[in-house]
Structures are given as structure tokens and as C-alpha cells.
């Protein structure tokens, strides 16, 4: 049963995850800007 207990894990949020979300949101906003400004 020890191996099954090892599947238990606390979800830890790290600042790198926030960075991924912020940067990718920024990319989408840049795409929106490129799209709108070149029609």
C-alpha cells in the first residue's frame, strides 16, 4: 500500500506557474493587437 500512499500529494503553487500564465496572456493580447492593427 505504500506506493498508493505515495500518489497523495499536496498541490503547491509556484511563482513560475504565475509567470507562465501572465506571459501567455500577454502573448494573446499581443496577437489581438497585431490582428486588430493590421486589418
Amino acid at each position: 500500500m505504500k506506493s498508493k500512499d505515495n500518489l497523495e500529494d499536496k498541490f503547491t503553487w509556484k511563482r513560475e506557474y504565475t509567470m507562465v500564465l501572465v506571459l501567455n496572456t500577454l502573448y494573446i493580447l499581443i496577437f489581438l493587437y497585431i490582428m486588430k492593427s493590421n486589418i
Partner: protein
């Protein structure tokens, strides 16, 4: 091809293969061979993960996709960063703590042997086919445009990959992928700046974007809720999320890359690296395709980019009709150049009425050109029903061979072959590992030495390499190559992902329920795909949801039958 191109191409490839073999020979333990000694740094993992996903198809098809349909394809990757976060937070810590060699080993610890074996077999089927296509895709295109023999090319690519993958295992794959990614990025940047330099002197990058935008090539985002439309913001963020979660979280060809990490932290940072750079990289490759489109606004292009299709129609009874279309194409190209010059002049004068009028003219001529190209495709189909009329995969290679200077052609061909080798290497490495550890080692009645299993993994890698070459030699091209690989993935991934999510999050569900649910789900997903119930991207979410629901229902039913409610 000039001698300089051959030197650049041959030198690059043989240096990478030779270095890979020399640097990584002599693995004696399974940990060394399968997990690269578990000492990889985050940047090695990040580059290796990116190189595994970016196959030759990425660099041949994607610019052609942008050339014809614009940049909407980038939306396909919008779910990927979210998937990276989930894998970093949930999957990686568990994989590392259990010290598994393969992703499916975890399923035996959580469920049972038959679930592990089933997922391993599903992986072998879909990844084995994909490995063949990964070799076949660049071979068919390069053989068509360069006149090289298809089978010889398949065998050369396959043999080069087998040489270092069998010899050095995971470490050889990682070492060569770093160099391959370097060559790929350098080559693509050179191509991009060469295109910009080849545009008329008065066309800046900003004006090139305006021209692309006027022709609907910069329609990057589509917020429509249409499940039949392959590439929308919503399908990318949801379907793309499930596909990325399944691919990076449960596909051994990717899991093996980050299992080689020195620590949980190094593995997580490797995937964060991918989560940050993947969308810009795909955007850049699509932008190269859009710039090729702008380039061909001022330069001649063939009516159909696939030379084999053109030859087929020109040697048929439809040759005269095709030549008429070619003459119309030439006339349209002249009109297009004049319209583009008017548009550029109007942009410079900032005369908004003239800009609007010129833009309408440009769009109109491009629409007529597209109609003409479609008519040519219809004619090709009639002349040769088996010919590939979809020429997306030939646009970029045609541009490379006919417009780039000597040396750069060799470098771009090295980019394409490096990409083919990098993804094939990860696939063969994973296929050999799964066969050796999940099937062979797990089902042997007695234990053998580490050396025995290393040798067995090498043999299985070699066998899968030969199978991949055989698949490449018998494969037939249909629709868009990049989509073919994604379709195969979508049919199997959702189901496998659902099994992993059950393992991680729903502890009350046991092995028997999961196993039966997985078999039923796979049959329904294949039926759904063959009956075209939905766009293939949604099959991931569908398969994933279905296996989870079925497993919960079966588990509930099983418990009810075992412990029927006591009547009062």
C-alpha cells in the same frame, strides 16, 4: 543542390550523429540508459521536450499552413501552457517519488498489471505509427522536390537515428537534441531575415504585416463557438489543453525526457521553459509562412507547389486545360503586383480612401488567384485521383530551394532533417523502453542483470527503428501531414489521459472498472472518429471524459453488486 549545400547538410548531420554516439557510449545500467543517469539540467530537459514535439512536419507544413490559411493554427497551442502547469504541479512530483522508469509503471502501482499493459500497448500502437510518419513526412516531400529516392531517404533518416539512439539511449537523444534545436532556430532565423531582405526596398516589416493582414493572413484569434471549426480560441484552450496534458503527461516519448531530470525542480523548470517558449516559437514559424506569402506577392509562384501533382496533370489529357489555368495564374500575378504597388503607395501617402480601395483590389486579386488554384487542384484530381492536390506541405520547401542562396539551402535542409531525427529519436527511445520494461521485463518469471535489460532495450529500440522505416516506406500521404499525426494522437490520448486522471484524483476507482471502461471508451472513440461526430481535437476531451464517467459507473455498479443494500 550545389556542393556547398551538400557540405553544410552532410557536415551538420554527421557531426550531430557522430558526437551523439561518441559522447554517450557505454551505458551499463537501466537508469543510465533509460533515464540518462537522472542528471539532466532544466535547459537540457526544456530543449529536449521542445525538440521531441517539433518534428520535420512542423517546419514543412506549418509555414505552408500560414501561407494558405493564415496564422489561426497557433490557437492549437493555447492549452499547452496550462497543461505544463498541471503536469509540473501534479504529475512530476508523483513520477519522481515513485522513481518510475516509465509512465505506465505508475498505473500498476495504482491499479493493476493489466491496466499498465493495456496503456503500454495503446502507446506502442499509436507511437509506433507516428514514428513511421515522422520519418515518412519529410522523405515524401524532399523526394518529390529534390528527386531523391523515397525509400533511400527513409532508410538514411531511420538509420542515422537508430545509430545514436540504440548506442546511447536517453542521454544520446538529449545531447543531440540540444544541437538539433540550435541548428533549427539558427536556420529559421536566417530564412526569416532573408525573406524580409528580399522584399521590395520600400516594403518594411510593418508594411509586410499590413499586406498580410489585408489578405486575412493575420486572423490569429477566432472566438466562434463552432465545434466543427478545427482552430478556434476555445478548441485550442480546451481540446489543446487535453491533448497537451495527455501528450506531455502520459506519452513516454515526452515523460522520458523529464524523468531524466536531476531533481523534481529541474524537471518542472524544463516544462516551464516549454510553457513559456512554445507559443512564441509556433507563432514565429507561422510568421515565416506569412512572410513567404508576402514574398510571393512580388515574385512568381507555381500554380500548384507539389511538383509531382503538376507533372501528373501535365502528362495527362488535361494538360491543355491546366496550361490555360497557368496562363491565367500568370496574368493574375501581374495584376497582383500592380495592386500591391498601389497599396504600398497609398500606405505611404496615408491616403485612407486610396488605402481602402487598393486593399480591396489586392484582396480581390488574391481571391481570384485562390479560385484559380482550387480549379487547378480539381483538374489534378481528375487527371490523377491518387495525386496529392493539397500543396501546403510543399510551399516552404519550394521557397527554400528556389530562392535561398547557396549554403542556406543546405542549412534549411539540415533544419528539416534534424527536426525529423530529433522527434524520431525520442519516439524510438520510448518505444524500446516501454517494450523492454513494461512488457518484457515485467512479464519475465525471473530477474536478470542490469546489463541484460540494457541489451534488451537496445534490441527493442533497433526493432522499433526498423518497423518505423517499414511504415515510412509503405505509408500514403493524405490531407495535411501535421494533422495526420495529431489525429492519431487524439484517438488514443484522451482515453489514456482519463486513466491517469483516475489514478491521480479518484482513489475509490479500482483496476477492474478502469480496465473495462478503457476498452469500451477506445471502441467508442474510434467509432466517433470514423463517423465524424466532431473535430478530431475534441476527441481528446471526449475520450478522457468518457473513460472517467464509465469507470465511476462501473465501480459504483461493482460495489452495489458486492454489497447489496440490506432490506429493512
Amino acid at each position: 543542390m550545389a556542393l556547398l549545400d551538400w557540405i553544410v547538410l552532410g557536415g551538420t548531420l554527421f557531426f550531430i550523429v557522430g558526437f551523439g554516439v561518441w559522447k554517450t557510449k557505454g551505458s551499463n545500467s537501466v537508469d543510465d540508459y533509460v533515464r540518462g543517469g537522472s542528471d539532466a539540467k532544466w535547459w537540457t530537459i526544456g530543449l529536449s521536450v521542445m525538440a521531441t514535439q517539433a518534428s520535420a512536419i512542423t517546419f514543412l507544413s506549418t509555414p505552408g499552413q500560414a501561407f494558405h490559411d493564415g496564422m489561426g493554427f497557433v490557437q492549437f497551442y493555447f492549452g499547452l501552457p496550462l497543461a505544463m502547469i498541471v503536469i509540473c504541479a501534479v504529475f512530476i512530483p508523483i513520477y519522481h517519488r515513485l522513481k518510475v522508469f516509465t509512465a505506465y509503471e505508475l498505473l500498476e502501482k495504482r491499479f493493476d498489471l493489466k491496466t499498465r499493459t493495456l496503456t503500454a500497448i495503446l502507446f506502442l500502437i499509436q507511437r509506433g505509427l507516428a514514428a513511421g510518419i515522422t520519418i515518412f513526412a519529410p522523405s515524401i516531400i524532399l523526394s518529390a522536390v529534390l528527386g531523391w529516392d523515397l525509400r533511400t531517404l527513409n532508410i538514411i533518416i531511420g538509420t542515422l537515428v537508430i545509430a545514436y539512439t540504440v548506442s546511447g539511449g536517453t542521454k544520446a537523444v538529449s545531447v543531440t537534441q540540444k544541437q538539433q534545436m540550435f541548428i533549427i532556430m539558427v536556420g529559421m532565423f536566417f530564412a526569416f531575415f532573408f525573406i524580409l531582405g528580399s522584399l521590395p526596398a520600400d516594403i518594411s516589416f510593418g508594411e509586410a504585416l499590413k499586406i498580410a493582414g489585408a489578405n486575412e493572413k493575420l486572423d490569429i484569434l477566432n472566438f466562434d463557438f463552432d465545434t466543427k471549426n478545427r482552430y478556434t480560441f476555445w478548441s485550442g484552450i480546451t481540446g489543446g489543453f487535453f491533448l497537451a496534458l495527455a501528450y506531455f503527461g502520459t506519452d513516454q516519448s515526452q515523460v522520458q525526457r523529464y524523468l531524466s531530470g536531476k531533481s523534481v525542480r529541474e524537471s518542472q523548470l524544463g516544462l516551464i521553459f516549454n510553457g513559456i517558449l512554445k507559443i512564441p516559437m509556433q507563432f514565429f514559424i507561422l510568421l515565416v509562412g506569412v512572410m513567404v506569402f508576402v514574398f510571393y506577392q512580388y515574385n512568381s509562384s507555381p500554380l500548384n507547389f507539389n511538383p509531382a501533382a503538376t507533372e501528373a496533370v501535365l502528362t495527362s489529357e488535361y494538360a491543355d486545360n491546366y496550361k490555360i489555368l497557368e496562363e491565367e495564374h500568370l496574368e493574375l500575378e501581374q495584376q497582383k503586383r500592380m495592386a500591391q504597388n498601389d497599396y504600398s503607395a497609398a500606405l505611404k501617402l496615408k491616403d485612407y480612401n486610396a488605402i481602402e480601395q487598393a486593399k480591396l483590389n489586392v484582396v480581390q486579386v488574391n481571391k481570384e488567384e485562390r479560385i484559380n488554384r482550387d480549379a487547378a487542384k480539381t483538374l489534378i484530381s481528375e487527371a490523377s485521383p491518387n495525386a496529392e492536390t493539397n500543396d501546403k506541405d510543399y510551399v516552404f520547401i519550394h521557397f527554400i530551394l528556389n530562392n535561398l542562396p547557396r549554403g542556406l539551402i543546405g542549412l534549411l535542409l539540415a533544419v528539416i532533417l534534424s527536426a525529423a531525427m530529433s522527434s524520431t529519436a525520442s519516439e524510438l527511445n520510448a518505444l524500446g523502453t516501454i517494450t523492454a520494461l513494461d512488457l518484457y521485463k515485467r512479464n519475465k518469471s525471473k530477474e536478470f542483470s542490469q546489463k541484460h535489460y540494457v541489451t534488451a532495450t537496445k534490441w527493442f529500440t533497433l526493432i522499433w527503428g526498423i518497423i518505423a522505416i517499414i511504415i515510412a516506406c509503405v505509408a500514403n500521404l493524405f490531407d495535411n501531414l501535421i494533422q495526420l499525426v495529431n489525429i492519431i494522437g487524439s484517438i488514443f490520448y484522451g482515453n489514456v489521459l482519463g486513466i491517469f486522471l483516475l489514478a491521480f484524483f479518484l482513489k475509490f476507482v479500482k483496476g477492474n472498472a478502469v480496465f473495462i471502461a478503457a476498452l469500451v471508451t477506445q471502441a467508442i472513440v474510434i467509432l466517433g472518429w470514423s463517423q465524424d461526430w466532431m473535430s478530431y481535437l475534441w476527441l481528446n476531451a471526449f475520450g478522457c471524459g468518457l473513460v472517467i464517467i464509465l469507470a465511476i459507473l462501473l465501480e459504483g455498479l461493482d460495489r452495489t453488486l458486492r454489497n447489496p443494500p440490506i432490506k429493512a
